[in-house]
């Protein structure tokens, strides 16, 4: 590790990747064509030499051309994650989506305590560490934001706290 300079280490992580770039090019090409097509539905106002659709079209053209270029001449990608890493990333995203959706119905503290313990686990903490530091992190953040910075966070709906409702 120490023998490899950062520039070389980065080189090793890069791969010529025709599939990734072509896929990205195709998706972006569809986006560009879709944006072009959809822009015609914007109603041009009265007395406007340049309507609301012109600028998106002006951007969609180079985007389409460049995406086509990407499909024809794909370049380098960083190494894509392996299956285990992908699993962890998906788990974190799913966890965070659930966290976001429960934040208001259940209140900040309970959701964040559970969320941060699981998050610490996913980032590689042992259960013991995760439990201790997760609870501490959640309560610390609550204290910092609610009292330190004075930002109201969603309360637990069935609990009335003495400092809530200000």
């Amino acid at each position: 590790m120490s023998e490899v300079g950062p520039a070389q280490a980065q080189q090793e992580l890069r791969r010529p990747s025709p599939v990734g770039d072509r896929l990205a090019g195709a998706v972006l090409l569809i986006v560009a064509v879709g944006a072009w097509w959809h822009s015609h539905s914007f109603v041009t106002g009265f007395m406007q030499p340049v309507g609301p659709g012109a600028f998106p079209r002006l951007v969609a053209v180079p985007l389409a051309l460049l995406s086509a270029y990407l499909i024809l001449r794909p370049g380098f990608n960083e190494r894509w994650p392996d299956r285990a890493a992908l699993g962890r990333q998906l788990a974190v995203i799913v966890l965070l989506v659930i966290y976001a959706s429960l934040l208001e119905p259940l209140g900040f503290v309970p959701v964040t305590v559970v969320g941060s313990v699981l998050l610490l686990r996913l980032f590689g903490a042992a259960w013991r560490q995760g439990l201790i530091y997760g609870v501490a992190l959640a309560l610390g953040l609550y204290a910092l934001f609610e009292f330190g910075l004075g930002m109201p966070l969603p309360d637990v709906p069935w609990l009335t706290l003495p400092w809530a409702g200000e």
Partner: protein, 501 residues
């Protein structure tokens, strides 16, 4: 002389106790964020923006806080470069080349002290440059009309595309994507909803703060998840940082040259700090020739890039403040902050809000001194933070991002949007499509379109107005030359890397 009077007034603003405290907090937090591997100025400032917002800071205070974080990050980046051989942020990459070998020889403390002084000189030099050159640029910019501004935006994209990545096509794709995302929402001129597909949350457009935190902070955490375990962190005896102060005297030529080169790289839109440190390291190596021992722990190999990247960070503020065109990712985020506080940087800012501009400049001078004081005696403390386990730091970053973004509008929709941008940012990074032009596009798109349409309504739809004035032709010519320079630079870089492997 007029400038001096303004600056004196600025010091009167910046020395108010509240602003001094904010600068100190910003410098400390910035150094910490910069020191942590993986979190650089872009992520750090992105993370701090929602907090500054929710805290209800007035614009001057918020700007002082965030710019202190920015300068602090530039100082902090070197710490993990030297101690762990992992650049704390991208501009600190060149510092690993000689900083880590110095640490292995037991001269880590000296390297940290020396780099703190080099950072201080570079940043101070750039701040003086900002004081002198920004008002001059403003006098030119005051003559700009909508057509010239449109040209200026084109220049920003041309240059940021030229330097930020190896592939032109990819950085222009990123810019177009950002511009397209910027058109989402109600069109301010005609009140037509564009690309909202009926989702009323999108009517206000995509909040760039939400996008920023997602693209930079959340995607960084996803990158981190690829590695399961903490890398072994070597314990190195650092020693005192004081000898570095003395060593910096013998490197004064190096520091001076590094500062000048870095400053020039910073002022050029789109170049930024990474190029500043790269160029000052490479040119210093060439300059010293056989007299240097670069790559094996030569102190000058630490001084040059650190002076360079800090000078570039200061230089990048010039186009941001005087033209409203950010030169780097971090200044783009600072611009986002100003725009969301309804402040448009540019020549008018200097006329209408001199308190803010000059207070900020004075705060930069003060912040630099604070950073030097923080970074010489207390550097051991910062180095210890690096031992904190990443399984704790990364979840903390995620949760701070969550709370900060949620508190903006108290809306879970923003959180989903942030996660979406996090995934987008991650995929783009894997594809080696740079994310900075996306942010720039999202940020400048509205202004760019507005100026285009204003120019068209002046000319009655005649597109040739765009290139009818001398200034705009000059800007386009400069843009083209920047693209050519970028291509040459990329070619040289490729040849260089090719020789090494």
């Amino acid at each position: 002389m007029e400038t001096l009077a303004f600056l004196a007034h600025g010091f009167a603003v910046a020395t108010q106790p509240e602003f001094l405290l904010l600068a100190l907090i910003g410098c400390t937090v910035g150094t910490l964020i910069g020191a942590l591997p993986g979190l650089g100025p872009v992520n750090g400032v992105a993370l701090m923006i929602p907090l500054a917002f929710n805290f209800g800071l007035e614009p001057t205070a918020a700007l002082i806080l965030l710019v202190s974080v920015y300068y602090g990050c530039m100082y902090g980046g070197r710490i993990s470069s030297i101690v762990l051989n992992i650049p704390g942020d991208e501009p600190a990459m060149m510092t690993t080349l000689d900083g880590y070998p110095m640490a292995l020889k037991g001269r880590g403390g000296e390297a940290l002290g020396l780099s703190a002084v080099a950072s201080f000189v570079g940043a101070t030099f750039a701040t003086i440059g900002l004081t002198l050159f920004a008002p001059l640029l403003v006098q030119v910019a005051i003559k700009f009309g909508p057509a010239e501004y449109f040209a200026l935006f084109m220049l920003a994209f041309a240059t940021i595309g030229g330097v930020t990545s190896g592939s032109f096509a990819k950085s222009f794709i990123a810019a177009c994507l950002g511009l397209l995302l910027g058109t989402v929402g109600i069109d301010p001129v005609s009140s037509v909803a564009r690309y909202t597909f009926g989702a009323f949350e999108l009517y206000d457009g995509i909040d760039f703060i939400v996008a920023l935190v997602g693209l930079f902070a959340v995607s960084e955490c996803l990158v981190f998840l690829e590695r399961r375990h903490d890398a072994d962190k070597p314990h190195i005896q650092l020693g005192s940082a004081w000898p570095g102060m003395k060593a910096s005297l013998s490197c004064k030529g190096t520091i001076g040259r590094g500062s000048v080169i870095g400053f020039i790289a910073g002022v050029l839109p789109g170049a930024g700090a990474s190029l500043g440190s790269f160029l000052s390291y490479m040119l210093e190596k060439r300059w010293l020739g056989k007299k240097g021992d670069f790559g094996n722990g030569d102190p000058r190999g630490v001084a040059a890039p650190e002076a360079g990247n800090n000078a570039a960070a200061g230089g990048a503020l010039i186009p941001m403040l005087s033209l409203g065109i950010p030169g780097s990712g971090t200044t783009a985020i600072l611009l986002a902050l100003l725009l969301s506080m309804n402040i448009t940087p540019g020549p008018l800012l200097f006329e209408q809000q001199p308190d803010m501009v000059w207070g900020l400049v004075a705060a930069l001078f003060i912040g630099n001194i604070m950073l030097l004081v923080l970074n010489v005696p207390l550097v051991g403390l910062f180095a210890r933070v690096l031992q904190a386990p990443s399984w704790f730091l990364m979840p903390m970053v995620v949760l701070i991002a969550f709370v900060g973004v949620y508190s903006l509008n108290n809306s879970p929709f923003d959180l989903y949007m942030m996660l979406g941008f996090g995934v987008l940012g991650y995929v783009l990074r894997k594809l080696e499509i740079p994310t900075v032009p996306v942010v720039l596009g999202l940020l400048l798109g509205g202004q760019m379109e507005f100026n285009l349409r204003r120019a068209m309504s002046i000319s009655g739809g005649d597109w040739s107005l765009l290139w009818s004035s001398g200034i705009s032709v000059g800007i386009y010519a400069f843009a083209v030359s920047m693209i050519v320079a970028g291509a040459v630079y990329a070619m040289l870089l490729k040849r260089r890397l090719g020789l090494h492997s």
